[in-house]
């Protein structure tokens, strides 16, 4: 049976002839009329624009209990590119032309939808395909192997070949040259940006927690100013110590050495703090010499101090046993020295100001 393609614009009318042509080219196609298994392939449209996405629907039905091997469909399906002139030629002539091969890109595919009804199994799958070349194309038959369980034999069924036309936009060469069109806005899904949303929410949560922590944190208590205890004036300390010494009545109880040792220590400590002389680390002569050189203390006062310190030295280092009057004189002289040389409040303030 010979058919011919008369007019490319009236391809629909001639599709029967084209199918026959493709059948002839595909020597592998076997038609089976009596068999229960059946497979079909159809497209949304037999004419569409370059780059348009169309659906290729595959329907398979076969008796239950049989097995079908679904053909492997990769990222593209092989096509035959047909010339317009081939539509009017006999299939043998077309075959002699050795047409070019092309590819139908498969963008997406659905899961195989399987159902069983009245002893038959129906399987459907949709492929989203697009073509990026213009012209006429023939999609060869897709082959499925069916293994009959009862008959212990296998058979091959195939879809009918499909012919379609991919139209290209006509260019008006007389019109003005225009700029390239902006990219089309692709509708976006929230799932495309879900990780950004999660990140933003995490940062907001962290900042909120931080601000909440800072705002609830107890304010650092400012340390209250604690004034340092004022140092007692040296004369105060010395006079108190002398009064305590008197009260202890040491020499009256035979503890003469301890008595004079304490008198000497009180006097030295007072001199060290009052006159900034290293009295505790100096001998009696060195103390008196330093006081004579660095102060204007009256000689009579220095003589009283010398009496107290020298007698203390004699008691401490020469086993001296002073008379009771001398014991009293030592503490009396020390009292007088302290009282005569002590700094009163006003003098103290004046001295500090001068310094």
């Amino acid at each position: 049976m010979n058919r011919c393609y008369c007019d490319s614009r009236a391809g629909y009318r001639r599709s029967g002839g084209l199918i026959v042509l493709v059948l002839l080219l595909s020597s592998l196609i076997r038609l089976s009329a009596s068999e229960p298994p059946k497979v079909t392939a159809r497209m949304d449209s037999s004419r569409f624009q370059l780059g348009d996405q169309v659906t290729l629907q595959i329907d398979l039905s076969y008796p239950s209990g049989s097995e079908v091997h679904w053909p492997l469909i990769a990222d593209s399906l092989p096509l035959l590119k047909l010339d317009e002139s081939m539509l009017q030629e006999s299939p043998e002539d077309v075959a002699r032309h050795s047409p070019e091969f092309a590819a139908l890109d498969v963008f997406d595919r659905s899961r195989r939808d399987t159902s069983e009804q009245e002893g038959r199994i129906h399987i459907q799958q949709s492929l989203t395909v697009a073509m990026f070349d213009g012209g006429y194309f023939g999609l060869p038959a897709l082959q499925f192997v069916v293994r009959y369980v009862d008959a212990q034999q296998a058979d091959t069924i195939a879809t009918e070949p499909l012919v379609f036309e991919v139209a290209m936009e006509e260019v008006d060469l007389d019109s003005d040259i225009r700029d390239i069109k902006d990219p089309l806005d692709v509708p976006w899904s929230i799932w495309e940006i879900w990780h950004w949303i999660v990140l933003a929410l995490t940062i907001v949560a962290a900042l909120t927690a931080l601000i909440a922590y800072w705002s609830r944190r107890k304010p650092v208590e400012k340390q209250a100013f604690i004034p340092r205890p004022l140092k007692r004036p040296p004369h105060d300390v010395a006079l108190e110590a002398l009064r305590a010494l008197e009260k202890d009545k040491l020499w009256q109880n035979g503890r003469v050495k301890e008595y004079h040792t304490r008198i000497a220590h009180i006097a030295r400590q007072y001199i060290e703090e009052r006159f900034a002389v290293l009295a505790l680390e100096s001998t009696t002569d060195e103390i008196l010499d330093a006081l004579m050189r660095s102060t204007s203390i009256d000689n009579s006062l220095l003589a009283k101090l010398r009496q107290a310190l020298s007698l203390a030295d004699l008691v401490k280092f020469a086993k001296e046993r002073p008379l009771p009057n001398d014991n009293d004189l030592s503490i009396k002289n020390t009292y007088e020295f302290v009282q005569a040389t002590m700094l009163v409040e006003n003098e103290q303030t004046t001295e500090q100001t001068e310094q």
């Binding site: 680390e281 100096s282 030295d313 280092f317 020469a318 086993k319």
Partner: protein, 329 residues
């Protein structure tokens, strides 16, 4: 042993008259240098020896020579040189052909007052021979041992300049000197008096006024000079502060001191303090005595570190720091 201070004082007053005699006689020929003369007396009374350090011409030899003349004792002077031998110092055995036997020829160390001039110019073996005699107060020649006569005072000198070709005394041997006295230049008026004295052409004649027995008796009395426990503790504090400065709030000295004073330092400081009190005609020791003599007893017994040398810190500075930090009793 006397325990009453009054008795000790009276005894000292009676027996210490020679001190003034010596001071007066020495003062005739030596102008100034009072400190050196006092230290000579202290060493003499304490049975110690003195290391004198000073530049040439400061009357070191004259002082010891004059002291020997006053005390009426035998004096010998040994100039230490690099080729000196121990036998030149202590003596040797000489073979007598007529008697066909070895006889002992005693060296110059057999004297009451020995001036070892420039001790650091002789090698170690000679120094050792001298220092051994100083310590043991006896000398062995051949198979015979000879006791050195009392009083026996060695006054060694060393020159702080011209250190090339010298043999510095080891620390262990320096420790055997009771005092190390540093002599400085005289004052202007003292130097003028020295100049006049020498221009007259003849030094005043020194009369032997003191018998060695007086010295030995004074040493006996010196033992009775009272030293209170507080003074003993003060001395111990000073010596211990040179060993463990951080225990005396002197941690800054720790890195400056390589070694501190030995127990001999404590003993000598106590003895010298007693002698100083005796010279001052006192029967008891006061802190002034300890402080007055402390530098001379301690300065050669404190080793200073390289850090101290780099910072120009001397043992004198360390002693001053210690004395100014330890509370006087």
């Amino acid at each position: 042993m006397l325990t009453n201070i009054k008795e000790i004082n009276e005894k000292i007053q009676a027996e210490s008259a020679f001190v003034e005699t010596i001071q007066n006689e020495l003062g005739k020929v030596i102008i100034g240098q009072r400190s050196m003369l006092d230290r000579l007396l202290i060493a003499l009374l304490s049975n110690g020896h003195i290391l004198l350090e000073g530049v040439p011409g400061l009357a070191k030899t004259l002082a010891i020579n004059s002291l020997a003349s006053i005390v009426h004792a035998k004096f010998s002077r040994i100039q230490f040189t690099p080729d000196l031998l121990p036998a030149d110092l202590v003596g040797t055995m000489i073979y007598n052909q007529r008697k066909e036997e070895f006889l002992v020829r005693k060296g110059p160390i057999f004297a009451n007052f020995v001036l070892a001039d420039e001790i650091n110019r002789a090698p170690a073996k000679v120094q050792s021979a001298l220092l051994e005699a100083m310590q043991e107060r006896q000398v062995t020649i051949g198979e015979s041992t000879f006791k050195l006569s009392e009083p026996f005072l060695v006054l060694a000198t060393q020159n702080p300049v011209e250190q090339e070709g010298t043999y510095p005394l080891p620390e262990a041997q320096v420790d055997r000197f009771m005092l190390k006295v540093v002599i400085t230049y005289p004052k202007r008026e003292e130097e003028q008096a020295i100049m006049r004295l020498n221009l007259e052409g003849k030094l005043p004649e020194i009369q032997p006024a003191v018998d060695p027995g007086d010295i030995l008796r004074a040493r006996e009395i010196l033992r009775d000079v009272y030293m209170d426990e507080k003074i003993e503790k003060y001395i111990i504090d000073i010596v211990f502060a040179t060993r463990y400065p951080d225990e005396y709030n002197l941690a800054k000295l720790k890195q400056l001191i390589s070694y501190g004073g030995s127990p001999r330092a404590s003993i000598n400081l106590a003895q010298a303090s007693k002698a100083y009190a005796f010279v001052k005609r006192r029967g008891y020791v006061i802190p002034e005595d300890v402080r007055a003599i402390c530098h001379d007893v301690m300065r050669h017994r404190i080793g200073i570190t390289y850090e101290a040398e780099a910072e120009n810190v001397t043992s004198e500075d360390i002693i001053n720091e210690i004395l100014n930090s330890i509370e006087v009793p």
